[in-house]
C-alpha cells in the first residue's frame, strides 16, 4: 500500500525556512516528536533548549556545525542534538536556508540503527531526501532563496513510520 506524504511549511525565520513532513490524515512528523515530550514532562528543560536552538538556527543560518551527522555520508540527513540526554530531532538539511524537520527521540542505544523507532525516523528522511534530490535534478522541484517550490507530495511504498 502506498502512503501519501507531503512537505509542509513549519516556521520561517530571518535566515531559515523550516518545513516538516505530513502523512495524509496524520499530524506532522515534528508534531509527533513534540507529542512525545508534552509540556511539563521529565525532559522539559531539554525540550525548551531544543525549541530555542531551532530559533537560533533560524536566525543565524543552518550551518553544518549546528547539526550532528546521521544517516549516510551521501545524504542530507542530520540531527539537532541535545547531548545531555542524547536527544535527537532528525532533519533533512537541504541548505543553509532550508531544513525539513522530522521525528526523533531519545537515543538509548549506541547507534540509531539499533533502535527500531529511531531507525524508522532516519529511514523516512533518507527516502524523502532521495526523492527531493531526484526532483531537484529533474526540475519538478526547485529551491528559490529559502523556499521549496513544485511537487512536494510523495507516495511511499512502505510506511514503517506510520
Amino acid at each position: 500500500m502506498k502512503s501519501k506524504i507531503e512537505i509542509v511549511e513549519f516556521e520561517e525565520y530571518e535566515k531559515v525556512y523550516f518545513y516538516t513532513l505530513k502523512y495524509y490524515g496524520e499530524v506532522t512528523e515534528v508534531d509527533k516528536f513534540f507529542d512525545q515530550f508534552p509540556d511539563g514532562c521529565e525532559f522539559d528543560e531539554e525540550i525548551n533548549i531544543l525549541i530555542k536552538a531551532i530559533e537560533q538556527i533560524g536566525e543565524r543560518g543552518a550551518f553544518m556545525r549546528y547539526f550532528r551527522y546521521e544517516g549516510k555520508q551521501n545524504d542530507n540527513v542530520y540531527a539537532i542534538p541535545i547531548e545531555s540526554i542524547s536527544l535527537r530531532l532528525y532533519v533533512i538539511r537541504l541548505s543553509e536556508n532550508i531544513v525539513i524537520l522530522g521525528n526523533g527521540g531519545r537515543k538509548t542505544t549506541p547507534t540509531y540503527n539499533e533502535d527500531p523507532f529511531l531507525n524508522s525516523c532516519v529511514k523516512l528522511l533518507q527516502e524523502i531526501d532521495g526523492y527531493i534530490r531526484k526532483r531537484l535534478n529533474s526540475g519538478s522541484l526547485s529551491i528559490i532563496n529559502k523556499q521549496i517550490f513544485g511537487n512536494t507530495t510523495f507516495y511511499l511504498t512502505s510506511n514503517e513510520n506510520a
Binding site: 516556521e11 513534540f34 525549541i51 530555542k52 549546528y66 547539526f67
Partner: protein, 138 residues
C-alpha cells in the same frame, strides 16, 4: 511581513524561562566565536582536537550550539588558540568607575569609607582632594 510560526511551539516558547533563553543564545555565540577563530587561524576542528588531546567528535559537540561549556573548557580553548573567547568588558567597568569618581571629584569633601572597588589611581586622587573647582566633565 509577519513570518510563519507554529502555534504549539509559540505557546511553549512563552513558558521558556529567561535563563534557558540566554543559555542557548550564549552557547550559540560561543560556538560561533570558536568557529570564527578556527577559520581566522586556518585551523580545522580535528586540529583543535589534537591541540587539546580530545576526539574530534567532542569538538563537534561543542559546536552544535547547545553545549554547556565549562569555564575550564573555554579557558583550555583560549590557551590553545591564543585568543580570547569570553570578552568580558573589564575596561568599560573601570572607565565607568573612573568617570563616576572624576565627576564627583569636585564635590567630594571626605573620601568614601568603602572605596576598595575604586581603581588605585582614582582612589589616590579622591583622597588627596582636588585643589581646583573646574567642572570640566559636566
Amino acid at each position: 511581513m509577519k513570518m510563519l510560526k507554529n502555534n504549539l511551539l509559540e505557546e511553549r516558547r512563552k513558558k521558556i524561562s529567561k535563563d534557558i533563553d540566554l543559555f542557548v543564545e550564549h552557547s550559540f555565540d560561543l560556538a560561533d566565536r570558536i568557529h570564527d577563530l578556527l577559520e581566522k587561524k586556518g585551523i580545522e576542528q580535528k586540529d583543535l582536537a589534537q591541540l587539546l588531546g580530545k576526539n574530534e567528535s567532542e569538538i563537534s559537540k561543542w559546536m552544535t550550539g547547545t553545549h554547556n561549556f565549562t569555564l575550564k573548557t573555554i579557558s583550555k580553548i583560549e590557551a590553545a588558540l591564543g585568543e580570547s573567547i569570553l570578552l568580558l568588558n573589564k575596561n568599560a567597568n573601570a572607565q565607568k568607575h573612573a568617570i563616576y569618581y572624576f565627576k564627583k571629584l569636585d564635590y567630594i569633601i571626605e573620601p568614601k569609607k568603602d572605596s576598595s572597588n575604586i581603581p588605585v589611581f582614582w582612589n589616590t586622587l579622591i583622597q588627596s582632594k582636588p585643589q581646583t573647582s573646574s567642572n570640566y566633565l559636566n
